[in-house]
Amino acid sequence: MQQNSNMAGNAFDRRTLDWYIDKGMQLVVFIGGISAIIFIIGIFVFITLEGMDFVFGRFDPVEFFTTEYWFPSDEDDPEFGILALIAGTASVTGLAMLVAIPFALGAAIYIGEFATGKKREYLKVLVELLAAIPSVVWGFIGLSIMNPLIIEVFDVPVGLNVLNAGVILGLMAAPIMASIAEDALKAVPESYREAAEALGATRWQVIFKVVLPAAKNGLLGAVLLGVGRGFGETMAVLMATGHSVNIPGSIFDSVRALTATIAAELGETAVGSDHYGALFTIGIFLFLITFVINLSADLIVRGVRKG
């Protein structure tokens, strides 16, 4: 009798323990689940915290965004204009997209619609490996392979310029855009293609008249993510642009990007100085821009799934 009730007690105890473990783990994984939100907010809070002194002190939005004079460490009259840096980032990203979009879309169409079986698998693996090459290696390629090549081919004095960084960045962004674009093509239901083929459409008619229009939003999302990547890329543009503050007149001009400016100057600034705060303010600006780009890419891609 005594033994019996003991056993019952044990069984009861074990059940409650499992129940507590279950609830405990639910809480643990929930905390893990919201960690991404915590980190995103954390990033914004901490870079704002460091940039705040500048934003509420020396910062003048008109000067900051509309002048091109970036002399943050001048002792008598420091100037904080990031227009030239914005122009640098925009010109490099723009050229990168000109390079990347046709190739990425072409590759996505070939891999998704034409290639079959083993060939398709191999191409997908190659594209995935391309996307894995670290940005500092791309920067080194711009510096050591592209630089002499541009000097020789175009007969210009400096090979570190918009062209160099744009091509490098385009090559970097293309594989990522290609795989996202391929996903978008894959998401178009097979029945669309079958219906078009049943009506007598040829392969390319199916692709141009049916698949591409249907995948339009996903493809736009892929392009936007590529733009976001271009805006945020740091090491490659630091090494391949020539790093001189300049509003470019041609693709052979050296420029300097927003990201590269932070990377090059943060090490030399005193914590809490105006220069330091200005670099964090650029960081806030970059954070907000990429946030908006990613958000709109997500909204556009989701839109197509609902419809």
């Binding site: 460091e50 072409g106 590759a107 940005s135 050591s144 392979i145 392969r203 945020g232 090494m239």
Partner: protein, 289 residues
């Protein structure tokens, strides 16, 4: 009646043309990288040796090996993994097993996408503001690894979530019917079936972490250190930053040296990615459900 008309012929010609055009575009996308790899091997291959991998740099980094940088990268990656894998897998479990399909889950997903999309240099600023200054870790392996961990968290979350979701619903239902709690089901049935898929994600993250440069520049990686790090509060050299330093910051470096460093770095990254891809394909082939 079913003769091939002129229109058909024209269409077929057009189709062939487009197919070749798109194939060329794909090849043109891939070709530069093969050329680059070839150049790296051609110019840097001669310097690679056991000595190069296992000795310290000498003569102001213009000669000698890359051992401290390799060693530091291993440190940084290991500490980053210790932080990001548990958090990432927990997040994946929540999203795959618990999260309801509502606005809150959507915000979590959006946060993950954004975490992956925030520029690496902004992660670096965050690392400086949060870990180096606010939490007073100083410039150290700990601060750099935490920055890397947060930056690469989406890689683990996305890969783990995918492999958890690939476990059939029937497995879970069978387990619940036996009276198991939710956690027991996850621990005994779902996770064992998903662990190899999670592993491919972790390998991918190792590769990503190895190559990142900007986030560690100001948080814990140094241009040159005469000694190896002893603990997580020391600074360290790192392979990715070492490539930046020898190719831009040090005068008089022999040409082969940065090519050699780039070759080692790219080889590490590509080998790890290949392992991850091969492993994933093997698992897909083995899967019985």
């Amino acid at each position: 009646m079913f003769e091939i008309s002129d229109l058909n012929k024209r269409n077929q010609k057009k189709q062939k043309l487009f197919q070749i055009l798109f194939m060329l575009m794909t090849l043109l996308l891939i070709a530069p990288v093969l050329i680059i790899l070839g150049t790296l091997i051609y110019k840097g291959g001669s310097i690679i040796s056991v000595d190069f991998l296992f000795t310290h740099p000498t003569d102001g980094m213009t000669a000698g090996g890359i051992f401290p940088a390799l060693f530091g990268t291993v440190w940084l990656v290991a500490v980053a993994l210790l932080v990001s894998v548990p958090i990432g897998v927990a997040a994946a479990i929540y999203l795959s097993e618990y999260a309801p399909d509502n606005w809150f889950t959507r915000i979590i997903n959006l946060a993950i996408i954004n975490l992956a999309g925030v520029p690496s240099i902004v992660h670096a600023l965050f690392g400086v503001g949060a870990f180096v200054i606010f939490f007073k870790f100083g410039t150290s392996i700990l601060a750099a690894s935490l920055t890397l961990a947060i930056m690469t968290l989406p890689v683990v979350i996305v890969a783990s979530r995918e492999s958890l979701q690939a476990v059939p619903k029937a497995f879970r239902e069978a387990c619940w019917n036996m009276g198991a709690t939710r956690w027991q089901t996850i621990r005994r049935v779902v996770l064992p079936n998903a662990v190899s898929g999670i592993l491919t994600g972790v390998i991918l993250e190792v590769s990503r972490t190895t190559g990142e440069t900007a986030p560690i520049m100001f948080t814990g990686a140094a241009f040159f250190l005469p000694f190896l790090p002893q603990g997580v509060f020391d600074q360290t050299m790192a392979l990715s930053l070492h490539l930046f330093v020898v190719s831009t910051q040090v005068p008089g470096v022999p040409e082969a040296l940065p090519y050699g460093v780039a070759l080692v770095l790219i080889a590490m990254v590509l080998i790890m990615n290949s392992i991850s891809i091969a492993f994933r394909m093997y698992l897909r082939g083995k899967k019985k459900w």
